[in-house]
């Protein structure tokens, strides 16, 4: 019973603390709100950049051209050989016969169309091909090498094309972009934490006398710290409300406004809002609460020396 009374008193004191020093609490809450808004925007931006680079990387296609003398049984066998390679996305393996390719060419361009019409099966200069995508683009060179060494395929492959030079550059650029994004977000979170903690420190400094008197009348350090830490918790929660609302509704309507993709390109797809906005929101509230509580804890501890 006494324990329950103590706990409820801690909560009551914490709430009193928030409202009794409302101007200072408001300063801390606004500080958390503004910095968390910046964090939210940067998290959303960097997640989308990562999402773009991911979708572009996943779109890199390897084309394996087969020699003209490959029989249809051999074509089937080559497919089963390709499936056995770990890094190849199984569902993306696609066979395109030289007739299909000719048809595609014909439909795509009027000038070619007349020429293609003159081809028969024997004179068609195009080749049968397999296309596939890889799971991990960093290993694309190894995967291509593995394909070249497949027991049946190695004699039947004419050549393999996957835009090597561009792929290599893509890998470097995207790796750099991702690292920069992660570093920027981490730096921003650190700066945010520092700013919030500092504001709380100032707010608590102005209550130094209150803490001093609590000590003088015989309050234990624990019973002084707990209400302040809970106050930090409340301030963290109150400060994250606006950033979370902005994230949930703002990103949702932004997504709808752009119809899910930037520049109308299916390569620049935005991250689906569900459950993305909730993930961002939980990161925001965790930062708000943790920094609020830890900031309060250390700020109070400083004044417990008298």
């Amino acid at each position: 019973m006494r324990g329950f009374r103590t706990v409820s008193r801690y909560f009551r004191d914490a709430l009193h603390g928030v409202f009794r020093n409302f101007s200072l609490s408001l300063a801390s809450i606004l500080c958390i709100t503004i910095t968390l808004l910046v964090v939210a925007v940067s998290l959303i931006l960097s997640s989308n950049v990562e999402h773009f680079s991911d979708s572009i990387r996943k779109d890199v296609t390897v084309v394996v051209f087969l020699k003209n003398d490959t029989t249809s049984e051999e074509v089937e066998k080559i497919k089963s050989e390709l499936i056995s390679i770990e890094n190849i996305e199984r569902s993306s393996i696609e066979f395109k016969s030289k007739t299909d390719s000719a048809q595609e060419l014909k439909e795509g361009n009027d000038i070619f169309s007349a020429t293609v019409d003159t081809w028969t099966d024997d004179t068609n200069p195009l080749l049968d091909s397999y296309m596939f995508k890889v799971k991990d683009i960093e290993k694309i060179d190894d995967t291509v090498k593995q394909v070249k060494e497949l027991s049946l395929a190695k004699d039947k492959i004419n050549n393999i094309n996957y835009g090597e030079d561009i792929v290599h550059q893509l890998i470097i650029v995207f790796n750099t972009v991702e690292k920069v994004c992660v570093a920027a977000v981490i730096a921003l979170i650190l700066v945010t934490s520092f700013l919030i903690a500092n504001t709380i420190k100032l707010a608590i400094y102005s209550r130094k006398r209150e803490i001093e008197i609590m000590r003088l009348v015989g309050a234990s350090n624990m019973s002084i710290k707990i209400p302040f830490v809970l106050e930090g918790l409340f301030i963290g929660i109150l400060g994250s409300i606006v950033p979370i609302l902005v994230t949930v509704f703002g990103y949702g309507s932004l997504f709808d406004f752009f119809n899910g993709k930037l520049f109308g390109s299916s390569l620049a797809m935005l991250v689906e809002p569900m459950p993305f906005v909730y993930e961002i929101s939980s990161i925001l509230i965790v930062i708000g609460i943790v920094v609020g509580m830890i900031g309060s804890y250390f700020a109070v501890r400083k004044h417990l020396k008298i």
Partner: protein
């Protein structure tokens, strides 16, 4: 019965100033003791050590069975609950009313609301402020503010009341009123230790006087006065 025993206490500040040197003192339960001495004689240091704002470098200070010299920072509250402290600069919370300021000392110890009300009204009428409970500290005179501080110091029924120049900011008439209150509290069994500069008070009260000089105990007189001392 002995309440405070100070043995071989030495204190040097970081600046090199020796505040107390080889200091011994014993105070019995129920006594009223004045601590006097010139500025820099070490009386403030002695008072601060009694409620453990300062720690001695050497020696021991035993108050009601607690060795204050060895008390850890997080255990200080055990000592503070046994004593009340009255300051020259009051240390009241300006945003709280008279009632709330006094009740604050009981709230932090987790007392029940009804018990707090009963006890706070009791001490406020003892110090003569029953009709000012709803006022804020800055609406009160200096003497009234000091009485609020005294009320706060005794609300938890401490065995010992430590006063650090409680009349330092008050005029002579008001000072005497404060002394009357302290005398009453002492008569109810609380030991009172008071550091002061005020000659008139010491002369009129005729209590035990401890004179400090350059960090040493110069004189310890029963029913002493300021007149025959020179500093």
């Amino acid at each position: 019965m002995e309440l405070i025993r100070v043995s071989d206490v030495q204190k040097t500040y970081k600046t090199g100033t020796v505040a107390l040197y080889d200091f011994n003192l014993s105070i019995k339960k129920g006594e009223f003791v004045f601590v006097i001495g010139a500025s820099g004689s070490g009386k403030s240091t002695l008072i601060k050590m009694l409620y453990r704002e300062e720690k001695p470098d050497k020696g021991s200070i035993i108050i009601g069975g607690i060795n204050v010299a060895k008390l850890k920072n997080r255990k200080v509250y055990v000592l503070r609950r046994k004593l009340g402290v009255v300051f020259q600069d009051f240390k009241l919370l300006p945003k709280l009313t008279v009632y709330e300021n006094v009740a604050f000392a009981m709230e932090v110890l987790g007392y029940d609301k009804r018990d707090i009300y009963k006890r706070v009204m009791e001490v406020l009428s003892l110090v003569g402020l029953k009709n000012k409970v709803r006022q804020f500290p800055d609406q009160l005179s200096g003497g009234e503010q000091q009485r609020v501080v005294i009320a706060r110091a005794i609300v938890n029924k401490p065995k010992l009341l430590i006063c650090d120049e409680p009349t330092g900011n008050l005029d002579p008439d008001t000072s005497m009123e404060i002394m009357k209150v302290l005398d009453e509290i002492n008569a109810m069994g609380t030991t009172v230790i008071m550091a002061t500069h005020d000659r008139d008070i010491v002369d009129k009260m005729k209590k035990r006087v401890i004179l400090l000089d350059s960090g040493r105990l110069a004189k310890d007189i029963e029913k002493g006065s300021y007149c025959n001392e020179r500093f």
